[in-house]
Symmetry: C2
Subunit: 339 residues, 2 copies
Amino acid sequence: MPATLREVAERAGVSVRTVSNVVNDFPQVAAETRARVQRALDELGYQPNAVARTLRRGRSGLIALVLPELDVPYFAELTRAVIEQAASAGYTVVVDQTDGDPVRERELVMRGNRAAMFDGLIFSPLALGDADLRDRPSSTPVVLLGERVVQGGLDHIMIDNVAAAGLATRHLIDLGRQRIAAIGDQSDESRKTGQLRTQGYRSALHAAGLEVVPELIRPTEFFHRSDGAAAMAELLALPDPPDAVFCYNDLLALGALRTILSRGLRVPEDIALVGFDDIEDGRYSTPSLTTIRPDKTQIAKHAVQLLLSRLDGDQSPPAELPADYDLVIRESTTGPATH
Amino acid sequence: MPATLREVAERAGVSVRTVSNVVNDFPQVAAETRARVQRALDELGYQPNAVARTLRRGRSGLIALVLPELDVPYFAELTRAVIEQAASAGYTVVVDQTDGDPVRERELVMRGNRAAMFDGLIFSPLALGDADLRDRPSSTPVVLLGERVVQGGLDHIMIDNVAAAGLATRHLIDLGRQRIAAIGDQSDESRKTGQLRTQGYRSALHAAGLEVVPELIRPTEFFHRSDGAAAMAELLALPDPPDAVFCYNDLLALGALRTILSRGLRVPEDIALVGFDDIEDGRYSTPSLTTIRPDKTQIAKHAVQLLLSRLDGDQSPPAELPADYDLVIRESTTGPATH
DNA sequence: TGCGGGGCTTGCAACGTTGCAAGGAACGCT
DNA sequence: AGCGTTCCTTGCAACGTTGCAAGCCCCGCA
């Protein structure tokens, strides 16, 4: 049963308001009074009631990070970055996992700070699209992450997927590979990630004068290891298998790697592999994984700053911030370093 | 600016209390009134204010899951399980990451439901130990996960680490390995995990009549891939390197695997590897990882149930629930399946 | 002595909700 | 007609906090 302001006030022989003034470090408190109140606070182990405070102030100091899956390493790593950025601004992050369930996503995003208790939302949608987000009734600020939504009229942070995918593909072309496959295409109109990356992949092939072979572009339902493993098995079953694969994320690449190695083939000698996301797993696989590295810290920083500026009343039109990325070359395309 | 009960009441021409009755589905409301209020609710898009509700009811419907690191796959996978269990009981989970920072851990656990807004806490401590938790002033119920704390006088869920480590070690012995190393020992008195697993490792060796070689027991500061890679490098530098290694978690094992393979050695032919945790990464590495699999779903279920029973006023003495585990044999000890 | 002013403290109200118990209307019974 | 009962609705207060503005006291100055 924690102490309230009133109990502290009685013990210190002052009014509730004065205790509040001490707790909140208002200057207009006599030193002697302050000391007496402080003693009472300490003796009773007073902790302010955050709920009452939030009700009164209209701010909770919480921001929600809504993600499809926490056990996807990319999201886990991004979460760390967001928590760090928010903490340095005095905010606490609440993480919520939707599993890409449209109902859960809608619930979280559409309801405002009334249903939940947070001041703002950083949201990486999987199921919800442009249309869904067009007119949110809620007034809680939202920042979107990822390529899922393009025209939501909301603040939005994403990397240039077409260019990044092109960079990855060009790297394989530069290595002299001829039959370059892609894993992770998504026909579903609403899944922008796969489509944008396929677009970048195709342009890179075109630009190099290489033929785009439809059967080398493998769709997957999700971006998990198992999807990559299965897609790779299909590619290996082709009469003329690829000599390189661009996987649309690292998990797909790790799944594909597993399949390749289990068939006794070598990476990169027989098949070169490029992933996307630069998760830690890919730095410790054998061979380690060449990948596109999005600047997760930057993404987190932009997201938090954008959100906080909205909380401060920034009324400027929705921003669309690009995030940096680069290509990290490792063993899966160039072989082990010679030492 | 979302609607309040009062605004709805004015629109419907009833009292605030009646609107509340409709919102909360109290039976004593005339059908006609209910319909009229419902219409007003819909028109204004009313959403109850969770903060006010919590203040009034004394319950937020939130439970916090406090973990050292979200980007450690074991915790990410556990988080998924906890979220699922809590959701099925109508609770929402708030995830908080401490990075093992004692200050943050203390802050979260010591403060009650006042400082934060949750009804209870599921806590996997890294830095805090028995003494720290002995007399918490807060009345918020806590369930502890893991072996960090043994005598906290708090509800507690853990697996039998000694027995599990013994099982892993015995598996290596049964394969005929003679020089079995261990990675992940922790001399720091407060880090129970490493100590308990070392204890199980030693007993298994003793029981098999094998010598315990101190230099084969490698301490690590953390349980990350990089720690495993470094420790393995030390082991390989020994005049007489091991022919098997029991790693105290899968990340250590994956780091060790990376080091072994990069030296051109084979797993399991030259060195057999066993991990702990059964994270998904270990199912897709090459070779896939033999490991101890804690029943994460069971851990989550017990934790949530225990916590909710405390919230319901259960006053029974602190429980110490064991969680199940088993040994999953994969390629890192027995080689690829022949197909 | 009267008055202005600064330094410090306080009471009141409100944030939006719900528990409590009372209020009121309508009905049936004697 | 009077009374009890049932059914429905309502006002008040409170959860713990803080904004606002008033209030108090004491000091200094004329």
